[in-house]
């Protein structure tokens, strides 16, 4: 490898007709980094991962993954990476062990290596006792763990995970998180994960790129990204009769860093939210604002998203829920 970059993406774009699903995106991922792509469904995460993993040809731009250009040497790229797609892709008609073994053979692994790796990985994901059961009998969480284990059988340099915990219950989600953390600790591996769960990106990733409408909005470590937002707490208020006068008054308070309004709701970026909530409410009362509800929370990546896009990931999801399956990639023929 020429440098210590695992992934280098330059101006990559994917268009469907005139719509750009991924629009001129550039970034790089260091070797050994846990890199997260955070954004609502339909933001272009799956399209980007499919381009980086050779499943889709970019309309323009380049991507160097592991060793080679994804469009020029896709076969070499595929040898170096492991990919867990968003949809469950293990064979239901095969057992967990057979799924692992056949996958290992796709990579040309010899019998001894396969047996060792399969046994080790199934043990790591806690599926040894179910190894010889048909995958059709597995729960969603078990299937997901098997699929992560399966793509590690050839010891890839980079692991891609497209929304690995989508559709999993909170308990299974934590099992997957723990497993991924363990994996990073045990192996010198680069992980590229896409997710629309803020807490997932926050808990796991060294670096996060926030993506919306096909473009990277902001990129940095979760701590750095949160540091960009003024204050350290956010007080969200629902106010009856919200006016410019009230907003101006709030902006004038010494502990308030920034005020953002939307309809009747208002987000106030403050220091020490718990301490400053009573004086804030007093000030509102004096200026004639009727407070319907008030909540305080610590800043999260969700707030980073809102700060940069003016909307929340959850709202975006509600709008784009119809793209949930297959992340909006059109498929031809009789669907």
């Amino acid at each position: 490898m020429q440098n210590n970059k695992a992934i280098t993406v330059t101006g990559i774009t994917k268009k469907y007709g005139s719509v750009a699903a991924v629009d001129n995106v550039s970034f790089s991922v260091d070797d050994g980094e846990f890199f997260g792509f955070l954004g609502p469904n339909g933001a272009g995460k799956t399209t980007l991962i499919r381009m980086l993993t050779t499943l889709l040809k970019p309309t323009s731009g380049t991507a160097i993954v592991a060793c080679c250009d994804v469009t020029k040497e896709p076969a070499s790229v595929r040898r170096e990476i492991g990919v867990v797609p968003q949809a469950m892709t293990s064979d239901l008609d095969l057992t967990g062990y057979e799924n692992m073994d056949i996958y290992g053979r796709f990579y040309g692994l010899g019998s001894r290596e396969r047996t060792q790796q399969t046994a080790y990985l199934l043990e790591t994901v806690g599926l040894t006792s179910r190894a010889h059961d048909l995958v059709a009998t597995y729960s969603g969480g078990m299937r997901r763990r098997l699929e992560i284990a399966r793509v590690l059988v050839h010891k890839p340099k980079i692991l891609f995970l497209d929304e690995p915990t989508i559709g999993l219950d909170p308990q299974s989600r934590h099992v997957v998180w723990n497993f991924l953390e363990q994996l990073m600790a045990d192996n010198a591996m680069t992980i590229f994960l896409s997710t629309h769960y803020m807490e997932e990106a926050e808990a796991l990733c060294d670096k996060v790129a926030i993506i919306d409408a096909g473009k990277i909005v902001v990129l940095g470590s979760p701590a750095d990204l949160k540091a960009q937002i003024p204050g350290n707490d956010i007080i969200s208020l629902l106010i009856d009769g919200l006016s410019d006068h009230i907003t101006a008054m709030l902006n004038g308070l010494p502990f308030v860093h920034q005020v953002k309004t939307e309809d009747n709701s208002i987000r106030v970026y403050v220091d020490s939210g718990a301490k400053n909530l009573p004086p804030l409410l007093d000030a509102l009362k004096e200026s004639g604002g009727k407070v319907l509800s008030a909540t305080i929370h610590e800043q999260s990546l969700e707030d980073v998203f809102i700060h940069h896009t003016g909307k929340s990931i959850r709202e975006e999801e509600a709008k784009k829920v119809s793209f949930l399956v297959g992340a909006g990639i059109p498929r031809k023929w009789g669907r």
Binding site: T53, R79, V83, A87, M88, Y103, F106, Y107, W333, G334
Partner: protein, 389 residues
């Protein structure tokens, strides 16, 4: 009372709710149908294809059956027989005559399936007509194709009859010109003649439900991504699925073949060699159809499309294959189609092996076609297969 005459509002409401639900089911179904243009197109096209193909594959007038004419007699009567046969060729056109000198070449041609029959006029024919000493004409028939041979027999007989009335003086007691018919092979009844077709049908169904179909199912279930993401090449995927389909379909076809041999009572007259030849044709036909399916289904991602195509492909491949009715009865365009229809070559080869005891050299033409077709289709399949999503 007014209240008793009015229907119970609860019943009205129940009917209303029932109708809302029923209409919702109907609308959902119709919308899905409407949004699958290929399904609509095929539902309209299929019956018409059936009409055109089936209508032309059965009961058509036989034309241009290739018949070898070996005239070893230079006398006037032999000439007249030949003229009468030429008149049939020019008129109804049931057969097309190919004149040749060598009798054994004509018989060999029948064995190889080049000719359906050979008319042999012996050197002393005219002399025997004059001397009224029982003149004879030989008619060698490929009786494995019962429908064609029956037609040729009738027409040759008719041609000779017309000669008798024309040239034999009225008062003279004439010696009949005898047509000595020779069936070249053991009699094949219609039931037995269907066996090659049944085997080809088994191969067709086998190749449709293995090989490329598994790819369609993987796409439908969305699990194709898992192997598209590995270093597997196009040739690995296409080749691997074709070989697995080959093993499944060959087993099915051999089983069907054996069972239908017992049911119809065809003897294994030549033992191992015959069985080996049949096995080779089954394997080649399977490869041929599997690679064809790969070209056609290579990009399909819904099993519904396979269902529709299966009916269509079966009609356009099976009925014009000569498995049920001779190709010579088809109109020109359908006969031309049969020339590129692998099932027609497979049926021809199986008929030759089963009913004419032909060995592989006699069906070399069929084998070469099946091999070339497989090669072309496999190349196309690999070229057109999309390694991306």
């Amino acid at each position: 009372m007014a209240a008793t005459r009015n229907p119970d509002p609860r019943i009205l409401r129940a009917i209303g709710v029932f109708m809302i639900r029923l209409l919702a089911v109907i609308e959902r179904d119709l919308k899905k149908f409407k949004r699958n243009p290929l399904v609509i197109a095929m539902s309209v096209v299929m019956p018409i294809v059936y009409l055109i193909i089936l209508g032309n594959s059965f009961q058509g007038k036989l034309v241009s059956l290739p018949v070898a004419l070996v005239n070893q007699d230079s006398g006037p009567y032999a000439k007249r027989v030949a003229e009468n046969l030429r008149a049939v060729e020019a008129g109804p056109g049931t057969f097309s005559l190919l004149a040749m000198k060598d009798q054994s070449q004509a018989l060999e041609g029948i064995k190889k399936g080049i000719y359906k029959a050979a008319v042999i006029i012996p050197p002393d024919f005219s002399k025997k007509v004059v001397l009224k000493s029982g003149p004879e004409i030989g008619l060698f028939l490929d009786n494995t194709d019962g429908i064609s041979s029956e037609n040729i027999r009738n027409i040759v007989n008719a041609a000779l009859r017309s000669m008798k009335t024309e040239y034999v003086p009225i008062r003279e007691k004439y010696e009949d010109v005898q047509l000595r018919e020779i069936d070249l092979y053991a009699k094949v009844d219609y039931y037995q003649s269907l066996v090659p077709g049944v085997v080809i049908m088994a191969i067709f169904l086998g190749t449709l439900t293995s090989g490329a179909f598994n790819l369609v199912m993987d796409r439908f279930l969305g699990i194709d991504e898992s192997y598209l993401l590995t270093p597997l090449s196009k040739s690995h995927i296409v080749g691997g699925l074709v070989i697995s389909g080959l093993s499944i379909t060959t087993i099915i076809a051999v089983f069907i073949f054996t069972v239908s041999m017992f049911i119809t009572g065809i003897p294994f007259s030549k033992g191992i060699e015959q069985c080996a030849s049949i096995f080779i044709i089954i394997v080649l036909t399977t490869l041929c159809l599997l690679s064809l399916m790969f070209v056609i289904l290579g990009r399909v991602d819904h099993p519904r499309i396979v269902g529709i195509l299966s009916g269509f492909l079966n009609v356009i491949l099976f009925f014009p294959s000569g498995a049920v009715y001779p190709i010579a009865s088809f109109p020109g365009w359908l006969r031309n189609f049969a020339k590129i229809n692998p099932e027609a070559y497979a049926v021809d080869a199986l008929k030759a092996i089963l009913f004419k005891n032909a060995n592989l050299t006699y069906i070399a033409g069929d084998i070469v076609f099946l091999l070339v077709f497989t090669g072309v289709m496999m190349t196309l399949a690999i070229l057109t297969f999309k390694r991306t999503i």
